[in-house]
Symmetry: C2
Amino acid sequence: MGIKWTSLSSAITLVPLGGLGEIGRNMLAISCQEDIVVVDSGLMFPEQEMLGVDLVIPDISWLLERVERVRGIVLTHGHEDHIGALPYILPRLDVPVYGTALTLGLLRNKLRDHGLIESTELHTVQPGDVKSFGCFEVEWVHTTHSIPDACALAIRTPVGLIVHSGDFKVDTTPVQGEPPDLARLARLGDEGVLLLLSDSTNAEHDGTTPSERSVGDGLSPLFAGAGGRILMATFASNISRLQQAVNAAQACERKCFIVGRSMLKNVRVAEELGFLHAPAAMFVSPKEHESVPDAELAILCTGAQGEPLSALTRIAAGEHPMVKLHAGDTVIISANPIPGNEEAVHRTINNLYRHGARVFNSSRHRVHASGHASREELKLLLTLTRPKYFIPVHGEYRHLAVHAQLARSVGIPAENVLAVDNGVVVEVDASGVRRTDTRAPAGYVYVDGLSIEEADDVVFRDRRQLAQDGVVIVILTVERSTGAVVGGPELVSRGFLEDDTAHLFDEAGEHVLEVQSGFAPDADWTVRQAAIHEALSRFLYRRTKRRPLILPVVTEI
Amino acid sequence: MGIKWTSLSSAITLVPLGGLGEIGRNMLAISCQEDIVVVDSGLMFPEQEMLGVDLVIPDISWLLERVERVRGIVLTHGHEDHIGALPYILPRLDVPVYGTALTLGLLRNKLRDHGLIESTELHTVQPGDVKSFGCFEVEWVHTTHSIPDACALAIRTPVGLIVHSGDFKVDTTPVQGEPPDLARLARLGDEGVLLLLSDSTNAEHDGTTPSERSVGDGLSPLFAGAGGRILMATFASNISRLQQAVNAAQACERKCFIVGRSMLKNVRVAEELGFLHAPAAMFVSPKEHESVPDAELAILCTGAQGEPLSALTRIAAGEHPMVKLHAGDTVIISANPIPGNEEAVHRTINNLYRHGARVFNSSRHRVHASGHASREELKLLLTLTRPKYFIPVHGEYRHLAVHAQLARSVGIPAENVLAVDNGVVVEVDASGVRRTDTRAPAGYVYVDGLSIEEADDVVFRDRRQLAQDGVVIVILTVERSTGAVVGGPELVSRGFLEDDTAHLFDEAGEHVLEVQSGFAPDADWTVRQAAIHEALSRFLYRRTKRRPLILPVVTEI
């Protein structure tokens, strides 16, 4: 954290704190002169090897070191990977937050859960609004995504105009609201865009992404043709998808039962704000749903990613307290698995089939459309805005690299295009876009149980070793006064070997004693523990080809 | 294992020991009268939650209980998921093994590594050959798959004819050898097929699977157009794919450097047996490859699944001893990620891009073709063989369920189609195909380190808990003679909390002492340990919302 900040009046500094070279956890700090504005503040779900972690959020220590210069956080839309870190970050970075009505509506639900609703300064904006943040002026520009009320940002700086796409696709027939404001983006292009930052999620997808409305065309016949109940799983924040499920249910006179607190709260907020429309009698309570005939019921729930504790996963496993599968139920999984979740999603689908359900999922049926622009749409944004410089954002490094190639293919000179990882501090001015030698801390910050932890790999290394081969504990009791071994060594293990370990551990114990006998009684116990560790580790590997975590404990009496 | 066997002269009994409702580990026992024949004996790679396991093989205890009746193991082709368990199974089930030349060639490599080559009775067959196994006659029928010398099986039994598809696709332009022997399959249909067992891997894929030759059409321009080196990753056993890489390299006068012992051995066997053709001067040694100019070199290696220790993963991470990436290298990943491996494959691709490589993988480029039949080919096999009964094999349960639907759609009566899980004992005779109430042990057997373990979930449950929240050990020293606590409680943890735990553990220790003080000195230590466990578990959860594995240890002096 020894980075010292020097004000650079002649350049914009971009500090990606998340969202580059990975999925989720979007957060970008933009600094110019004495002011900093932050775009989004999202969370990511842990990768496979982040054992035992609940959530991952950006490291904000770079911002905390210059907190007096941070003018505000501006939000593009209300998805978890853009707003989900705020409840963990706002207590340490108390700055005003700006976003559209639905975005802040979803955020308020979270802040209320964390007791932060009173202490947070929230400003609702509309597309077209311009807000000042010191030397920055930020304009929200209406776009389309898989959630309504999503925006791109036009960020005016003393050095030039930055356009940030947010998450978008060019959906000319959105389910809710207007098509994207391409005309405004074109006028920004006329004005001259210094730098474009654009969504790379689907940079590997040729063509264009289907309209969100196409999902409705896929859902309608399934809802209408099903003999039994409909169960549809999607993200709790996917308001447009929920609207289409409501529409399809309404068309065939089904009631909707919403399972899960988060989805219910989001639906209520979206209804209040006019982003979701449904007749009042449409929704039934947990109690009421039991008396609705199967053919007249649609159940909406979470679990489209096979998350262990989600409604659909528990329903598929026969472990949900309210919803049991009936043979002949139709299950619709209206989402693509996020990379890493495929196995869990497939396990859920296997279980659904085992219960005799019919299953429709994105791989074969038109029950999902991505919310992100494909290559032709990305090229459209590039040609509308005609930026001088281009930085791909929002995606794994492979997406950024492919998006960078695409930008070059539409005529942006190679040296004006830069794909970077989190923490790489980038400078932009009239003379170029360049990586600096400065690195901002941008590691993972883990939310685990009740605590928020800085990135420290020791715990994960230990957990990984524990997960691989378990733990072997060796306990020696020594007399404090003399240093003599009076008890043990006793060996205990968990997660190590299933077979009887008695004989192996007897031998290991003798080995430990032998190692100990080489030391003088007053030898330092740290050294003696290290010797035990090494000897035992070698012995066990030779005998079992496993490397359990070895924990020598010396208790004194 | 209390199942007792009753000979049923009037029916065939099928016992799936692996390969149903999961991926890999294919093994099917077929029993009739006094004879048992076993089809394939494969391994599977562990799923995410099988922590620390190297490989998973079928449980053969059902076979071991009736070993004197097992007449042999018949192999369909030489992929790992069909032959890979043999080195672990043959030492306990010493029966003759039958397979085609390439299949046994690849198997011999494995048996040699395990010191089993002398003790195993191997019989090479050719397509068209018929072998007797007691009351069974097995005929090998030539098919096409992503490995040459693959066969379906026609199994004649006293009850009727069974056709087992093996792994197949209908490839009318294979890279090596003849198109599949559809005429023979049709004649078997004329004769009357009682039961068809068919590959379900791609039962969700519409249309037909591209010919293996189409991959060559995709590879050629990449090989020819690349300025730097070509690195191509695929499975070590994918002989047809390696042949096409060799062809593409030859066409643009590149030498081939094969990285990795398993791939090298497979190439040698395939060459010896005439299943792979390459000029002798084509291949260069590790030493020689250093002096070949980048534009004249193709490197073939494993790692297409992002396996942690594989060549490509290590090359991408910059950790391979022989191969370092050069900017401008072209990397081709010629395989689809197996479900569960996506994250690892993407991490590898991200690293390759970070090193400035161009990357071509299956999702966007024609560098891979599946080896498994799509829906139109599955329908073709069903209509050629016209079976009375149908059981889908080889796939997760969702694949089996969809394949069962497909079979019904081509006219097989619903009651004649049966999708089952491993271990479900099925009976077939002229009057029907049915699940019996008998279950054969068909759980996972884990190869972990040096040992082979029966399925026992305790170790995995422990490892999972260790992986989630680590371990907390609490040690009490008591005097044997009096039962008095003379030392501790001492608390030690690993993988638990990063923050300073001193204060928390002090308090926890007091808690433990308090619990102990409620017991008489002569109270049973098992009961006292259980009380410590419970109290500590509740205390730690309340304070940290985590559930580490808690291990109370009492040492006596």
